[in-house]
Structure formats: C-alpha cells, structure tokens
C-alpha cells in the first residue's frame, strides 16, 4: 500500500532528478560529436579563478547573512507570539516578488544615476562592484538564513533558559553555552540554504556586477546559451561534487544527528 502511494513521487524523482543527473554526467564525459573523452574535465582548470571568486563571494555573503540573521532570528523567536507572526510575514513579504524583479529593482535604485544617487544628489558608484553583488546575495537570500534558525530557536524548550539561569548563567553565557549549541542545526541549514544558491547564482552577478566579472553560474549559463553543452555539463558536475563535499564536511560540524535538511 505504501509503495503504491509513493509511486508518483518515485516517478517524479526519477524523471526530474535522477534522469537529468545522468544526462549531465553523460554530457560531461563526451565531446561534441558524442565520443567518450575527458577533455571537458581537463578544460576546467581554465575556470579555476571563476570558481575561486564565486566561492569567496558566497562565503562572505553567507557570513554576512549569519551575522545579520542570527540576532534577527533570536529576537523573533523571543518576541510575543502575535509579534512573531508579524515578523515572519515582514520577512517573507519581499519573497512574494520574484527574485529577478527584486534584483533588477536594486540595480535601478543603486545605479550611478539611480534613485539613491538622485535622491541624495551624490555619485556613489555601487553597481558594478563586488560589494554590490554581495549585497544582492544577502538581500535575496537572508530569509533562507533567518527562517531555519528562527524555527530552531523557537522550538527550544522555554525551561532551558530558566534552567541555565538557575545554574548560574547570565544572559550572555545562556546564549553562548545553551542556545547557540542547541540552534546549531538551524545554523547549518541556514548556511547551506544561503551558500548553495549564492555559489551558483548568475542573475545577481550579471545585473549588480555590471558584467565586469563572471561567477560560475554565469559561465555555465553562457556555455549552454552558446551551445557548448559539454563544458557546461562538466562545470555543473564538478560544482555538484564540490557542494556535496562541503555539505558533508558541514554535517560533521553539526554532530551528524541534527543535520536538518542536508544530504
């Protein structure tokens, strides 16, 4: 009975997850005429600087998200239930607008002759810098950091606070010795959910980066657009493997047993 109920999901997973993965692997290991070759993989060394830059920018964006997101999630979880709902809604509100539109709007606001510079009558050059790309990543992916941490903290038993204080913890030590370790799984979920989409983003870097540099997502997109499917597939494959490795490493940090959504 169970297996019948699961059949549509299994079918879905095979058709849209497993099969495409095999197609990616296939394309990564053949040349344009369909013969087996390692050329696509060896060609990847040319993309090392792009890989590096993508990883660096997304690590920074994730760190910023965590620094902003954790206190926010903590405040939200400690607020009155009525206010909690309001906070969550405010956080989700921007996500009702599509990511592409939000990014394009940020570009219009921060541009050299954009809304901000016109309003303040200044000439800040923001769009086209790496800072702008990091800002865009943080802006677009912050909710993915806050929500898992918020859920995690709000699930912590209220008595934990009382117990910690009974045993002589002040506010700071309660936070660092009790709450932080207990919310580790939320942090790891949040980090994953921000890091992975930031590494592979392409729209944000194209629009806010002014096109002066490329992230790996842009490279993959361009490979596919110009018809170089094989190299594109090879880059995607290596990306997936790298992400898988880093997730496994992160899982270790989280004691494995509270891994949340990962792997």
């Amino acid at each position: 009975m169970n297996s019948i109920a699961a059949a549509p999901h299994v079918f879905w997973a095979i058709l849209f997850i497993v099969l495409p993965l095999f197609i990616v692997v296939y394309y990564a290991f053949v040349d344009s005429s369909g013969n087996f070759s390692f050329e696509n993989i060896t060609a990847l060394k040319d993309y090392a600087p792009i890989f590096g830059l993508s990883v660096e920018l997304s690590v920074i964006a994730t760190a910023v998200c965590l620094i902003i997101g954790y206190p926010l999630a903590y405040i939200m979880a400690r607020a009155k239930p009525k206010n909690q709902k309001l906070f969550v809604m405010l956080l989700m509100l921007p996500m009702w607008t599509n990511l592409l539109i939000r990014t394009y709007s940020i570009m219009a606001i921060l541009d050299d002759g954009g809304f901000l510079n016109t309003l303040l009558n200044t000439s800040f050059h923001i769009v086209g810098t790496k800072g702008a790309v990091i800002f865009g990543m943080v802006y677009d992916f912050l909710p993915y950091m806050v929500l898992p941490i918020y859920t995690c903290i709000s699930k912590i038993d209220k008595h934990m606070w009382e117990a910690a204080q009974d045993l002589g913890c002040n506010t700071v030590t309660t936070l660092t010795k009790v709450i932080l370790p207990l919310s580790m799984s939320g942090i790891i979920s949040g980090v994953t959910m921000v890091l992975v989409p930031s590494i592979s983003t392409f729209y944000i870097s194209q629009k806010l980066g002014g096109g002066t540099f490329e992230l790996i997502g842009d490279t993959i997109e361009r490979q596919f657009v110009t018809g170089a499917l094989n190299v594109g597939a090879a880059i995607s494959l290596v990306m997936m493997i790298l992400i898988l490795i880093s997730l496994t490493v992160m899982n270790r940090f989280g004691n494995g047993d509270e891994g949340g959504i990962i792997v």
Binding site: S32, D46, Y47, P49, I50, G52, L53, E56, L57, V59, I60, A63, M107, A108, D111, D112, G113, G114, H125, V127, G128, K130, Q206, K207, G209, G210, G211, T212, F213, E214, T219, R222, Q223, V225, T226, G227, A228, F253
Partner: protein
C-alpha cells in the same frame, strides 16, 4: 503460454500491416486529414517569432495575426488559426527546432542563423520570387544576400544597424567629431562607458575600430581584439544587455554601443541622447521569414509571408517594432514617414528619426570597411565554425577574469574561513576535554565506591 504468445504475435503482425497501410498511401490520407481539419476549422499555422516582434493590437495598432486570419478566410473560405509563440534568442529557436519534434510553419531567424540552418538543411527551399508576389517590393539591397544568395529560403522582415549612443550633456562635442568606435576607449569618460555583454558584439566593436575582420579565422586577429578589450575594461562601467535602456535614459552612463531602432526609443525618454554610425564600419542584422523543412502547412505559410509584406500589415509591424523595414512599401509610405517623424529625436541639421533609420543604407555605411577587408558582406556576422566559437568563448572568459579579484575579498574570506575552523577546533577540544573530565570524575567516584 504458447497461445498467449501466438495471440501476441498475431496482434503485432496486424498492427504492423495496418501501420504500413497507413504509410503506403500517405498523400491521400494527408489531404483527407487536411479536408477534415478544414471542415472542423482546426487548421493552425504555427508561427515562431522573437518576443515583441509583431504588431499585436495594443495601443490601437493593427493585430496583424488576426488580420491575416480574416484575410485568409475571405480569400479561401476556410478558417486558419495562427498559433503564435515567441523566443528570446536565435540559439533558443535553433535548439528547439533541432532537438524537439515541435512543428513550426514560420520562423524568423537572423542572417547568420539562416546561413547555419541552410547549411544544416533545416529550411524549406522555394521559389521566393514566384511564390511571394509582394517580394518585388523588397529593397534590392536585401536580395541575393550572403546568407541566401539565390533568394531560395528567406524573405527579409526587418533590419537594424548598430552604432554609438552618447549623451550630449556628458560628452564633449570635440570627442565625437570623428564618429569613431574610439569613443568607447576614451579614458576621459572612465566609469561612464558601457559595452555589449556578449562576445560577438563586444569583439566586433574592437575589430571594426581597428579594421580587423569580424569573421576572421585567424587567432591573431582575435587576440588583438582581446588586448583592446582588456585595455578598455578598467574604464568601463559595465558589460550590459538590455539594462542599457535604463542606464542611458537615467544618465547613469554616457556612452554605449547599441542598435539604432532601440536608440530611438531611448531618445523618447532622454532628450540629450544622440547617435552616430561609426565610420569604421558597423554591424547590421537582417531578420527574415523562413519556412522550416518539416512545416505542416508550407502553402499557408507562403500566404502568411506574402501577407506580412502587404502594405497595411507591414507598416503596422514596422511602426510597432521600430526597426527599419526592408520593404519599400513601408519605407516610401507617406503615412509611415509621418509616424516615424513623430519621434522626438532630432539629430544634426534637423535630421529626423526617419532619416536616421533610412537615409544611409548598410552598404553605404560599411563601404570603407568592406573595401578594407575586401568582401562586400565583410561587416555582417557569419556563422562561426566550432573551433572559432570555442576560441572566442575562451577569450571572453579571459576578459572577464582579467583583474577580477580584489585583495579585500581574499582577506575577508581567509578571516571567515579561519575563524570558522578555529571555532570548530576549539569546540571539539572543549567537548573532548569535558568528556575526559566526566570520565575521570566517574572513575574517581567509582573508586570511592559511589553510585554514578
């Protein structure tokens, strides 16, 4: 079991014979199907075009697809429905036609893509002059082109030339006097210059400027162009596509290369914008209507093409799209000229939008460049062979990688990763220490004979 097998094989044989029957008299069956379709009113013509590339009835314009349906019904007495879908790039269209079984009756690719599709035998060959009566109105400049030398596959729809857009309030008159691509390399305007964000067009700007062949198969030419682009990179504000509209109209940037038809739209919003065709040569594209080889309704498709060249429909489309029309019924129509002159653009010596679009033919603008390269179509993009394509892709990546990292990024990253690792080690150490302490304490208690 045996019986079942027998039954199955009989069934299979039956299906096979039935199938082959159907194949044998393909022709009459097809016409039967067609009559059936006509009777049911379900004949559809599948048109696959660029987005925003046909007059669709908005702003009181003529809905040319609907007009075609009416025209066809009046002429032949049965109903054809136009199923109109759009694509964003030539490559999208190509891969859809190449890799899927969807049937289209009309596609409108650009010149180089038509060349490629003809080479790969994807387009239907027909006698354009005979089958499309209105073809006589096409300007001779757009007949016998390099991509379709015998006029056997394509009927021009629109064309548009590239050039340099600049803001007269931000750029000195003296710097644009020589009407050169060199303006894009002028260091005076550092941080205010935009460049195309696709390899083909970006490389072309450098290659026209220095008189290199844009269809070169010599690596050397591409390397030279790359050098120029790398040199240009520090003074650029960015590599952009359609963001150019916003950036130019909001005065975020002062100089950008783009297409004249799009420039006219920008000039509506920002009166300080001006335009010139660089004297060194420019690219222009022609988008032409073609019938794919596997079209289901090639005859109706020809009617459609002919209708799109007829005066009313062609003018409506030309006004809607805003690019130049190769159709003389349009370009010499008083009403159309009047509409074009409603554009607020006013160039040197009171040049109107119409004059900017039509007074100078691509062959005239490119005369110098074509003579230099020694080929009448030198300024047009030809379809790349795979080697050059991947070479250009690699060079483009090199351009994007050039000076793309800044020290502060490395430093911040090292600090973040370093502190995460330090924290991890510290917490592991604390945990180990604590568990050892507990163990020691437990052992001590045990030795003292306490219960744990």
């Amino acid at each position: 079991m045996k019986r079942l097998l027998l039954l199955l094989s009989v069934l299979a044989a039956l299906i096979l014979t039935l199938g082959s029957c159907g194949n044998a008299d393909d022709e009459p069956l097809d016409t039967d199907a067609q009559t059936q379709q006509i009777q049911n009113g379900t004949v559809t013509l599948n048109v696959y075009n660029w987005g925003e590339y046909i007059s669709d009835g908005s702003f009181d314009s003529l809905n040319t697809n609907k007009a075609f349906e009416e025209y066809f019904y009046e002429k032949y007495g049965y109903k054809v429905t136009v199923n109109y879908t759009t694509y964003a790039t030539n490559e999208d269209m190509y891969s859809k036609l190449k890799n899927s079984s969807v049937v289209y009756d009309i596609v409108i690719p650009s010149d180089y893509m038509i060349q490629k599709m003809i080479e790969e035998d994807m387009l239907l060959s027909f006698d354009v002059e005979k089958d499309i009566p209105n073809y006589t109105y096409i300007d001779s400049e757009f007949k016998n082109t390099y991509y379709d030398p015998n006029n056997a596959y394509s009927v021009p729809y629109t064309y548009c030339m590239m050039g340099v857009i600049y803001n007269t309030a931000l750029v000195d008159e003296a710097d644009v006097k020589d009407k050169s691509w060199g303006l894009l390399w002028n260091e005076k305007y550092k941080g205010n210059i935009l460049q195309f964000n696709n390899p083909r067009d970006a490389f072309a700007t450098a290659m026209y400027w220095k008189g290199l062949d844009v269809n070169s198969t010599e690596n050397e030419d591409w390397d030279k162009a790359l050098e120029l682009l790398v040199e240009q990179k520090p003074i650029l504000q960015g590599y952009v596509n359609d963001e150019i509209f916003n950036k130019m109209t909001s005065e975020s940037a002062a100089i950008a290369p783009y297409f004249v038809g799009d420039f006219l739209i920008m000039a509506e919003e920002e009166e300080n914008l001006a335009f010139y065709y660089p004297t060194e040569g420019v690219n222009y594209f022609v988008d032409a209507m073609c019938i794919p080889k596997n079209a289901a309704q090639p005859e109706i498709a020809k009617e459609y093409i002919n209708f799109m060249l007829s005066e009313e429909a062609a003018i409506a489309n030309a006004i809607y799209i805003g690019y130049a029309s190769p159709n003389t019924l349009v370009s010499q129509n008083e009403e159309y000229i009047a509409v074009m002159n409603e554009y607020s653009y006013e160039g040197e010596d009171g040049e109107t939008a119409y004059e900017l679009l039509y007074n100078r033919k691509p062959s005239e603008v490119n005369a110098k460049y074509n003579a230099l390269i020694g080929n009448d179509n030198a300024s047009c993009y030809q379809s790349f062979n795979p080697d050059i394509q991947s070479r250009v892709n690699t060079l483009w990546e090199n351009l994007k990688i050039a000076d793309s990292t800044e020290p502060w990024i490395h430093v911040t990253c090292v600090v973040i990763v370093g502190s995460v690792i330090a924290l991890a080690i510290y917490s592991t150490y604390i945990k180990k220490k604590r568990s050892r302490d507990y163990r020691l304490r437990d052992r001590a208690k045990k030795q003292r004979g306490c219960r744990i």
